[in-house]
Symmetry: C2
Subunit: 300 residues, 2 copies
């Protein structure tokens, strides 16, 4: 398939690797030609043989010409997305599907009124998509069902794990789940129950070990002899009580944020953050590889 | 150290393995002598050499005699806990510390007025503790600081990962975090945004891969160039907006639960649940082992 990668920051570069390693031919474009070249270099660094599948397009028109699918990862500013989609609209063939990597803007906010609006959707990865398979597909109200079906099939073919939301919603699914957890994390720290690093331990040494291979429904489904309905009958009232205590939305105020920042900097000094990100990426890659091997062994 | 294991269900048996493999001598007691014997068999199945460190106590008094630490994992019913702690109170030496595995009851609800109340606390594991290191330590208002310090040191010596809450709070930390995530999970399904299996994928193929080795604060701290304060400045308003949308505590009503139950049973028929739990336990053990190896390689 012919794929156009538009926007070559961290997300676009990672997407380029996803498509290239699945055997597709890539036309790569960025406002900055150096960024496009860097994306090719990123793919080549992962596997030199893949570089032959990547070319830096000479223009947006060149990138889109003949593309079956466009993965757009332009900067997260609405006016930039709107201008880019207007520009693309004049160039797209009526056979091309366009997925946006945006985490923050529904497709309706930048595709309304476009000729190709029915073939645009949000295809939001968790960064970096070459390691994390989940992709959220979110239709605008005018996105065609065929657009969703095509993109879902494509993502599965790539080895990604797509989920398809029925409609646009703030934060989509992933950031809404993260929001719920973060909100309680900040609440516990603000209320002096425990420290940020203790919340982190509760997840990394506790809840997260299972969440790396089974989600919250699958988890509770196995935690009662007869499944999730029994679990809810036993523990639903307890969780409803907690939900009522957690129903006070809080802004993360300056004192709270300063306190968390100070504690995090005591763990990782500012100068060490780039190195810590390398640690994270190595750990993540190794966990993903281990999960793949375990799945081969015990099943999914 | 001499350890008494009181209560030998799934949690108590797993605790027995935790203490035995760390080199401690165990006196194991359950209302049912068969359950106590089964706990010894569980330890022996993991490592036959450890069985020599375990003995089935002939009575509660026998189990507690000379114990340095008691891990109590009796059934989760408050009258049972209250009666057990009253009975233990008459038998405990003033040097013995008692940690309760309870997930639901604060220590103040079953240790008030006891002679040994200052040496009792909650030491709540995530099941099963022989695989999942996190332990929440929660003091009653009258728990002595030395009790917390002793139990924290003991847990670290065992290879567990203790966190110490400053005070009692409903759900402690782990179930409050799980509650926040589950609440949003059910909300998304109830509102028809996606299916339970899609929520599960969002976690297991997405968020959970990082949460297996870094918690929510560590995650966001690395997701802005200069750390968590910058992240909060950029995204705090977005999360506050989501928090307001998520501030409607909902009971998990019968229709919603029936719908989730039907979808989960379509994935795993009721008859296959025991086998699916074996899959979970194998996967969990393998993930924990992989994480240990990765940590050796890239650091914690």
């Amino acid at each position: 398939m012919k794929i156009a990668i538009i926007g070559c920051g961290v997300v676009g570069s990672s997407w380029a690797l996803v498509f290239a390693r699945a055997g597709h031919d890539l036309a790569i474009h960025d406002h900055s030609e150096a960024a496009a070249a860097a994306a090719v270099a990123f793919v080549a660094a992962a596997d030199p043989a893949l570089a032959a599948r990547c070319r830096v397009a000479t223009s947006l028109a060149d990138a889109l010409a003949g593309a079956d699918y466009v993965q757009e990862s332009a900067p997260e500013r609405l006016p930039i997305k709107q201008a880019l989609y207007r520009e693309m609209d004049a160039l797209l063939s009526p056979a091309t599907i366009v997925g946006s990597s945006t985490s923050g803007f529904p497709a309706s906010s930048f595709t309304e009124g476009l000729d190709n609006a029915a073939r645009c959707l949000v295809a939001h990865p968790i960064n970096p998509p070459h390691l994390i398979p989940l992709v959220e597909l979110i239709p605008a109200p005018w996105t065609a069902p065929e657009t969703l079906a095509f993109t879902g099939d494509l993502m599965r073919d790539l080895g990604q794990s797509p989920i398809t939301l029925t409609r646009e919603i703030n934060g989509f699914v992933v950031n809404r789940l993260q929001s719920a957890l973060l909100g309680e994390a900040f609440r516990l720290v603000e209320d002096g129950i425990c420290t940020p690093s203790e919340v982190d331990a509760a997840v990394a040494d506790g809840l997260g070990l299972r969440w790396a291979f089974m989600g919250p429904f699958a988890t509770i489904d196995l935690n009662a002899a007869n499944g999730v309905a029994e679990y809810c009958a036993n523990l639903g009232p307890m969780y409803y009580g907690l939900a009522k205590e957690q129903a006070d939305p809080r802004e993360w105020g300056p004192d709270l944020v300063a306190s968390v920042e100070a504690k995090m900097r005591a763990q990782v000094p500012a100068a060490d953050l780039p190195q810590r990100r390398q640690w994270r990426d190595r750990f993540l890659a190794a966990i993903v590889a281990a999960k793949r091997e375990i799945t081969k062994d015990v099943g999914a």
